[in-house]
């Protein structure tokens, strides 16, 4: 069984009477431990695809099966609970809650999972060391650089031990050097801890780092390449 299965998935947004097809007939599978990128120009449907994989949204047609479950008609609450246990989200920027410290942000999903405080603390402390952001625990997001913020977002996503981490253009707001470092970090986590990453990008240098490149074009699957390295 694959970790994630998209079966003939379409998503149509409605803006008044206008219908905007964001994704059309996409079928894809992802296995645990993958390091895959959704590539494509702006507007090609990358965010939409990630939102569907992450059970943040329902497809207009087709099925999204994550970890063996099709949440096609599930309630908002059931979706939230599923995301909490299975999915880690990282967005392009401003991922963090500004009034919480870096450590509190990272602990947040664990808090929602009702993990006891000492356990939460210990786990986050270890993650911060792993991600090279130890010492920044008590800073507020506003006092962190873009790269540091993204690392805290990764820590938050990883803290809950999800099956997959979805990152929507995680490096788009970073300078190229920092972007490379962040990507390097994600690769290392993927290799060493077998964390499954699916991220999106329209930056060729970032795309080149992935082991599998899925090209989207106008909401359709254009290409699906697995690069053996």
């Amino acid at each position: 069984m694959s970790l994630i299965e998209l079966q003939d998935v379409s998503k149509i947004y409605r803006l008044g009477s206008q219908e905007i097809p964001a994704l059309t007939g996409v079928s894809l599978t992802f296995e645990a431990g993958e390091f895959a990128v959704l590539a494509g120009p702006s507007g090609s449907g990358k965010t939409t695809a990630l939102n569907l994989i992450g059970c943040l949204d329902h497809p207009t047609s087709g099925h999204v099966i994550v970890n063996g479950l099709d949440l096609g008609t599930a309630s908002k609450k059931a979706l939230a609970d599923f995301r909490l246990q299975n999915i880690g989200f990282i967005f392009q920027s401003y991922n963090l809650i500004p009034v919480l410290t870096a450590a509190e942000n990272a602990e947040f999903t664990l808090m929602l999972q009702k993990v006891p405080k000492p356990e939460r603390r210990a786990k986050v402390r270890k993650l911060f060391v792993d991600l090279g952001i130890d010492g920044l625990e008590n800073r507020r997001p506003a006092d962190l650089s873009g790269g540091q913020q993204q690392r805290v977002a990764i820590a938050r996503a990883m803290a809950a031990d999800p099956h997959v981490i979805l990152a929507d253009e995680p490096t788009a707001n970073l300078d190229s050097h920092t972007a490379e470092e962040l990507l390097e970090l994600m690769r290392r986590l993927n290799r060493e801890q077998a964390t499954t990453f699916i991220f999106s990008s329209h930056d060729d240098r970032v795309i080149a780092q992935a082991r599998r490149v899925i090209h989207l074009q106008d909401g359709c699957l254009a290409d699906d390449l697995t690069i053996s390295k």
Partner: protein, 407 residues
């Protein structure tokens, strides 16, 4: 952590939160003060009737209650038979003999109501001793010393030390008359008492009415006047059939209604004032929720349930309500305390008003009453909750996909 998050969220827009907070504090505090002053006014009204004349409870023959029949008299020890030391809520008991008659001096005479009392006992029930403007309260020492009102003194053109004649019908059918010496003059502000009422020693009254050892009524004072009806209900079964205790509400039905209506008007006043406060809270939290759309989207993406989001916003409004309450109650209590201790004298601007059988004194003076605190307090929390509910719902219903797209 949700609590921490809610608390910190409150202070993100410090100025806006402080403005809303101050509106809440001001409305709660001023409301508490206003209600305290209202209560003070009603207390004055009730006190004017009970502490100047009736007492809180009156025991008499039913016939006497109904018709003031001078022959419906009781033994002067009657109270001790039915009321014991265990009735601790009763803090004053005064036996009285009442006589309607004329007071004359030279060629002027005035109709008066004379109460024969035991001065030391009467002082426990009424407080005319605190309203003296001349002379002294009658004492056992002078067996025909009388206390009269200012209005009467003016009409008769008498002052303390003057003698006057009281004429009335006696129980044996004769006309009783005797000399009284004015020992003191009182002024209550209530013209009925100031023009009519005369207090004289019980023994003197019994002698002139030829009713030795007899009285018409026993007036009683309670520690808490609001418990009068309950106490009367408790005591009445002990009494013989032809004797009855009436509470001030029976004696002054209008006053009872006015005071009962106050509980309702208090709710209305509180509701109206808080409506405005509620709109302020609503506005603040709507703005705060709108500004945080993306943040709610991120929280939802992490797996926060819609109900938890709703709870977070409600927690924020309730926290604000709680803070406002703590400060508002304190300010309200301090202002009420000031108005209780010092008050504002309006005697220079308005005269006393008689209303519903009592007198509203020309002063602003507050009293502490539990309801004046918990009604505004409870309502403020309720308003915070209601005003928080709409924005909370709005946040909980956000579509995470759209919310996250917002920058």
């Amino acid at each position: 952590m949700l609590f921490t998050l809610a608390f910190r969220n409150l202070w993100r827009n410090r100025r806006r939160t402080l403005l809303t907070l101050s509106a809440m504090v001001a409305s709660a505090a001023l409301l508490i003060l206003a209600l305290g002053v209202f209560s003070g006014m009603f207390r004055d009204m009730l006190a004017s009737a009970t502490e100047q004349y009736y007492g809180h409870l009156v025991l008499a023959k039913t016939e006497y209650h109904e018709r003031r029949d001078m022959f419906a008299h009781l033994d002067e020890e009657v109270a001790s038979r039915y009321i014991t030391a265990e009735d601790t809520e009763i803090i004053g008991i005064s036996p009285r003999l009442r006589s309607f008659g004329l007071i004359s001096l030279a060629e002027t005479s005035q109709p008066v109501e004379l109460l024969g009392v035991i001065p030391e006992r009467e002082k426990q029930v009424t407080s005319l001793q605190t309203k003296l403007i001349a002379g002294n309260y009658p004492s056992e020492a002078v067996n025909n010393g009388a206390l009269i009102g200012q209005g009467l003194a003016r009409k008769l053109k008498v002052s303390t030390g003057d003698e006057m004649v009281f004429v009335t019908q006696a129980a044996d059918g004769s006309i009783g008359n005797d000399l009284l010496i004015i020992t003191g003059i009182f002024a209550t502000g209530d013209s009925r008492h100031d023009n009519n009422l005369v207090l004289a020693p019980l023994g003197w009254a019994q002698k002139i009415m030829v009713l030795p050892g007899r009285i018409h009524e026993v007036a009683m004072t309670l520690a808490d006047p609001m418990l009068a009806a309950l106490t009367a209900d408790r005591l009445n079964p002990r009494l013989p059939d032809d004797v009855e205790i009436l509470d001030w509400g029976d004696l002054l039905p209008e006053m009872r209604e006015v005071i009962a209506a106050y509980d309702v008007s208090r709710m209305i006043i509180v509701s109206i004032l808080y409506m405005a406060t509620g709109l302020g809270i609503l506005n603040t939290f709507f703005m705060s929720v709108m500004e945080r759309t993306r943040e709610f989207g991120i929280l939802m993406a992490q797996g926060m349930r819609p109900w938890t989001i709703r709870g977070l916003v409600l927690l924020e409004t309730c926290l604000l309500g709680g803070i406002a309450l703590a400060i508002g109650l304190t300010c309200g209590a301090v202002m009420t305390l000031y108005m209780q201790q010092v008050g504002i004298d309006l005697a220079g601007y308005i005269t006393p008003v008689t209303y519903a059988g009592g007198t509203i004194l020309p002063r602003l003076h507050a009293v502490f009453e539990a309801g004046n605190f918990y009604v505004p307090a409870g309502m403020l929390l309720l308003v915070s909750l209601i005003a928080g509910f709409l924005p909370a719902n709005r946040a909980a219903r956000l579509d995470p996909v759209q919310a996250v797209r917002e920058v």
